[in-house]
């Protein structure tokens, strides 16, 4: 029997192994991260059949849930931990060649710690434990943003640190208040005791927790750190931050909102509507900022904000179709955005500039990379036959199925955002292929090690786009788990 604890323990162990190992050999460090990540994928896949039947609940230290720290490996947890491990693996393969300068052993250690934190957040069933894993994730990402050691990196890392710290303290205060109210930290146990989120003593911790997590999940107006941090981090880190870290934040919000506070469409509280509006606002702000942006990585960062808004909107509709759509969008965004950052990493490395105009003519010099970029961009816009299409389709459909005027207006906003998104991504595609640029750049592909993850991402994006059934089954049970609070409580508390 595989134990979900391994998903956290193994990467953590390897992370601490790296500094020790680097005493022996400086070069070995970069080959370490893929090992535990491979392991995590295998374990996730092994756990999957069991988790689909019934969430695997593990208590640590022999105490029964409600008193112990416990892990809940349900479909959502397994889905996300698999995504984290998978994207992490591909990015770590990419980083083998890409990360050359500086204290590489520390980079790889922090990278593994970040992924450990992310895995912990999606698996834990204890709200304080969630906070702890969140801090692991955040602190390693602060350090990774500053990894390059240049002025921009350090400045944005400090900004990120300040805002992240404010967010974390809000989260911690919220958790403290909940603990004071209910005397327990187990999510299922709080959920059982909590009746209505509307009363002020419950609402205040909810507001605190949502604001705190919202900082990491890049919800407008809490996302001031993101454009700086994502654009000045090294590209593999940007890929992980955009592809994993903010999604995990969003997952945490969904878990808290649905499971602990029990918001649902048919509850009297219309806080979800507010979140939906906030989602579309985030989407529009993100896309509008990305339009006309000349720094390619900053553009991608703003586009991440927009995508987070769309996912938040989908989750906030809280119907099963909508949540499936939201999770699908989460997966397709993760794949596409990670791909975009990875390709941009080598493009900008060649051109020595983050300017969009510097990418002119790259399509001829780096054909495969440019093609991969184009596919990623098309997928983000939601063009068929790429992965972004079915997810956008599900979200629009879910919004129309609500038959509520507000959601019609909001989905109109989302579609407007899509048009803006199309405008800036198509512009880049034109620059890549149809503008004559610097002919001094040699025609050279990215190194094979970096090409492998890029190609795998492309295959997945096209594959899922053509055959969405590949993941929709898993996604619908994940959505069901996320929405079904009563089952969650029963599964954990027995």
């Amino acid at each position: 029997m595989v134990n979900p604890v391994l998903l956290i323990v193994v990467p953590l162990g390897f992370a601490f192994l790296i500094p020790i190992l680097s005493l022996l050999s400086k070069k070995a460090a970069k080959y370490i991260p893929p090992i535990p990540l491979c392991f995590n994928i295998v374990v996730s896949l092994l756990l999957l059949p069991r988790a689909l039947e019934n969430p695997v609940v593990v208590s640590i230290g022999g105490w029964q849930p409600a008193f112990s720290i416990n892990l809940v490996a349900g479909p959502v947890g397994i889905l996300l931990s698999a995504v984290v491990a998978f994207v992490g693996l591909l990015v770590s393969i990419y980083a083998v060649d890409y990360i050359r300068e500086g204290a590489t052993d520390r980079y790889h250690m922090l990278f593994l710690l970040l992924l450990t934190g992310a895995t912990g957040v999606v698996l834990t069933g204890d709200i304080f434990n969630l906070f702890v894993f969140f801090e692991i994730l955040c602190i390693s990402s602060y350090a990774l943003v500053a990894y390059a050691g240049d002025k921009a990196g350090i400045e944005s890392a400090v900004k990120y640190l300040i805002q992240g710290a404010v967010g974390s303290s809000l989260l911690l205060i919220g958790i403290g208040l909940l603990y004071g109210l209910f005397g327990t930290l187990n999510m299922a146990d709080i959920a059982k005791a909590l009746q209505s989120p509307s009363s002020l003593p419950v609402f205040v911790p909810m507001a605190l927790i949502i604001s705190g997590l919202g900082v990491e999940a890049a919800i407008f107006p809490l996302n001031g750190w993101l454009p700086d941090a994502h654009s000045s981090a090294p590209s593999p880190v940007s890929a992980i931050l955009s592809g994993i870290a903010i999604e995990v934040g969003l997952y945490a919000i969904a878990r808290v909102v649905f499971t602990i506070f029990g918001l649902s469409i048919d509850s009297t509280s219309n806080f979800l509507m507010f979140l939906a509006v906030l989602g579309i606002l985030t989407l529009l702000v993100g896309e509008m900022c990305a339009l006309g942006q000349n720094n390619i990585k900053r553009m991608l960062a703003y586009s991440s904000i927009g995508q987070m808004g769309l996912i938040l909107f989908a989750l906030a509709m809280a119907s099963s179709y909508a949540v499936v759509g939201g999770l699908f969008q989460l997966v397709s965004h993760t794949l596409a955005k990670a791909l975009l950052f990875l390709t941009v990493g080598y493009m900008t490395y060649r051109t020595h500039s983050l300017d969009v105009s510097a990418l002119a003519g790259i399509g001829k010099r780096m054909p495969i990379t440019s093609l991969a970029f184009t596919i990623g961009a098309f997928s983000l816009i939601g063009l068929p036959p790429f992965a972004g299409f079915p997810s956008k389709l599900l979200i629009v459909r879910a919004a129309l199925a609500t038959k509520e005027c507000l959601f019609f207006v909001l989905i109109g906003g989302a579609l407007l955002g899509t048009v803006i998104e199309a405008a800036y991504f198509f512009r880049i595609v034109q620059v890549l292929y149809f503008k004559d640029g610097n002919t001094n750049i040699a025609r050279k592909q990215v190194p094979a090690v970096a090409l492998i993850p890029i190609v795998i991402f492309v295959i997945l994006i096209v594959g899922i786009g053509i055959y969405p059934k590949f993941i929709t089954g898993l996604l619908s049970s994940a959505a069901a788990e996320l929405l079904n609070r009563v089952d969650y409580i029963r599964n954990v508390l027995g």
Binding site: S198, W225, C289, L383, L415
Partner: protein, 622 residues
């Protein structure tokens, strides 16, 4: 043959062509021509054999299926034939250009996507192919770089607006009826509320109106046509834009139950009247704007918009008054337009190819002596465009006029007629400035067009005449489409048709014209022999004219130009440009939210939290 197999050949061919291109360019050219001709052969064999087949089970719980019926066969055969001719035309035109592998595979891909559109039996596959067509088109329009980049952006943004509208419409239908199969939607929609039907019509009308460039949604078209590589412009103008017409016919089918049965819902009828009037507007304004153009491709592009107006007028009016003559005219005009506009763009492209890309009407002239085949193509093309008897354009325009007059809509008929006058003026300028008049010194030694360009021009020229004399050939298929759409049948013969609203017999016309020409020929033959004089003698009545000093093709219609120009601005385009500027500006303003100052950011966080709690304290909305 299974329809999915056809699509597999079409799409697979596009990929194969790219791969072959990496091996050898000869192999690639051969493959591209072979695949496109194979598709023509397949569709020719499939005439009159309806097909229907599901090809994909469970795309997000939907079954995707394909069908082949009269409507889709009609469009499919036009797509593959024009596609094949454009590919053949490209062989020489694109030979020395770069990225030809990309070009050929995209051309085949666009054709494949269009085939997918017309073969789709459910709206999701329709949308998928529609979007693929859009992004392929974007890439092909941008191919020429420089100014083409802006044209491409304009195209794709308008196209995206149309397709998100369409997506909303499609999914709304899905949510309402729980199916996306077109026949099932048609039967469900018959019982829907009139308001909902109107919503469906408007939202799809926007999507198809943008693609078909109905005013005021036309602004993407002139630049895109002008800047795209010419053989692709042919495809774009001939069929791709007309996917909008196909879409309108599809809507007509979907609401078809209302036409045949209890009579038209008043909303459907009103919508189609509006559509007919928009069609009339689209005929008049762009045709006169076309007159002012000095760029051969821009001139044709504006005609592309104007001729689209005839189709929309025919279809909209036909549906509004349940008149099959107008509807058949609209559909037939789509085919006719495709034939002559492709012919005209090819004729321009042939000139471009020899003159090194010149398409400015003021600097060409007299090319009839150097490029006779291209001239004949242009002559027959403009004859079709004007609608001279015995060319194909005559028949379809006649059908539309007749229906308009008989149903008692003189103003619409008048608009259509004005359009024809404008067309005559502007295409004469087109023909004269390129092929007639003085041959500039630098073009004295141009070679005639290569065979691979002459062949498509010859084929299309004969099609213009063939369908003008024997309109019964396509009209039989069109008649089937009309009855399938729920309209009454026309009595079609090979020479024309008879119906209660009008009779057309081209054999009489043919006979009349043959007799008259014979008389004229005899008279001229009997008359005194004409004396051949140098061209310049004609111009200045014998006075000396320095060579190349006066170029009589420059400044054509100058007085008219100065008179009309103030009234013929493209106001809509200016409005959109201003709108785009405003959007960009407001985006810049929004970006100022991200000041870069961490103090501000932390303030946002705290303010957000504070206002959440405050709102709940004060109003308790949550």
């Amino acid at each position: 043959m299974k329809p999915q197999l056809i699509l597999l050949i079409a799409f697979g061919g596009a990929f194969l062509t790219y791969i072959f291109g990496k091996i050898s360019s000869k192999l690639r050219d051969g493959a591209a021509v072979a695949i496109s001709l194979a598709l023509v052969a397949i569709f020719a064999c499939l005439y009159g054999r309806p097909l229907q087949e599901s090809f994909y089970w469970g795309f997000l719980g939907l079954n995707l299926s394909l069908r082949l019926d009269a409507l889709s066969w009609f469009f499919a055969i036009a797509i593959v034939s024009l596609g094949a001719l454009s590919i053949i035309f490209s062989l020489r035109y694109m030979r020395d250009r770069e990225r030809t592998d990309f070009y050929y595979s995209m051309m085949l891909m666009v054709n494949a996507a269009m085939l997918g559109i017309v073969l789709s039996n459910d709206l999701i596959s329709f949308y998928i192919f529609w979007e693929m067509m859009s992004w392929c088109t974007f890439l092909l329009i941008s191919y020429n770089q420089h100014r083409a980049l802006d044209a491409g952006m304009k195209y794709i943004i308008m196209s995206m607006i149309g397709s998100v509208a369409m997506l909303a419409g499609i999914l709304s239908l899905y949510v309402s009826f729980d199916t996306l199969l077109i026949p099932q939607i048609a039967s469900s929609l018959a019982t829907a509320s009139p308001g909902y039907v109107l919503f469906v019509l408007v939202i799809f009308g926007i999507a198809f109106g943008i693609k078909n460039a109905i005013m005021p949604l036309h602004t993407w078209l002139p630049d895109s046509y002008a800047e795209a590589p010419s053989p692709f412009t042919a495809v774009l103008s001939g069929m791709l834009t007309r996917m909008g017409v196909y879409g309108l016919l599809l809507i007509t089918y979907v609401i078809g139950g209302m036409i045949g049965g209890t009579g038209l819902g008043s909303n459907v009828s009103k919508f189609n009247y509006v559509l007919a009037w928009l069609g009339a507007l689209t005929i008049v304004v762009p045709t006169f704007i076309a007159m002012l153009q000095n760029d051969a491709k821009q001139l044709l592009a504006w005609h592309g918009i104007g001729q689209g107006g005839y189709m929309v007028l025919g279809i909209g009016f036909g549906v509004a008054t349940a008149n099959s003559l107008a509807l058949a005219g609209g559909i037939f005009h789509t085919l006719n337009h495709a034939i002559y506009i492709v012919l005209l763009f090819m004729s321009v492209a042939a000139v471009q190819y020899r003159t090194g890309g010149v398409r400015d009407l003021n600097s060409l002239g007299g090319l009839v002596a150097r490029m006779p085949v291209a001239f004949v193509g242009a002559l027959l093309g403009i004859s079709g465009l004007i609608g001279l008897p015995l060319t194909n354009g005559f028949v379809s325009k006649w059908m539309i006029y007749k229906a308009l007059i008989i149903e008692g809509h003189p103003f619409l008929a008048f608009a259509a007629l004005i359009g024809t006058w404008g067309t005559i003026l502007s295409v004469y300028k087109f023909l004269h400035n390129m092929y007639l008049g003085q041959l500039p010194e630098k073009y004295k030694h141009l070679e005639k067009s290569p065979f691979s360009m002459q062949l498509p021009i010859a084929v299309l020229s004969s099609a213009v005449v063939l369908f003008g004399i024997l309109p019964g050939i396509p009209l039989r298929v069109i008649n089937k489409i009309c009855t399938w759409l729920g309209f009454s049948s026309l009595d079609v013969t090979i020479w024309g048709f008879t119906s209660e609203t009008g009779t057309l017999n081209t054999i009489n016309l043919l006979a009349a014209i043959v007799v008259v020409s014979a008389v004229v020929w005899v008279l001229f033959h009997r008359a005194a022999k004409s004396v051949v004089v140098a061209q310049d003698d004609n111009y200045a009545a014998g006075a000396y004219v320095p060579r190349d000093k006066y170029h009589y093709t420059a400044g054509f219609y100058e007085p008219l130009f100065t008179m009309l120009r103030p009234y013929l601005r493209d106001v809509v385009d200016e409005f959109y440009t201003a709108l785009a500027g405003a959007v960009r500006k407001s985006c810049g303003a929004v970006r100022r939210i991200y000041t870069g100052d961490v103090g501000n950011y932390v303030t946002y966080i705290i303010l957000f939290l504070a206002s959440l709690i405050l709102v709940q304290l004060r109003w308790r909305p949550w």
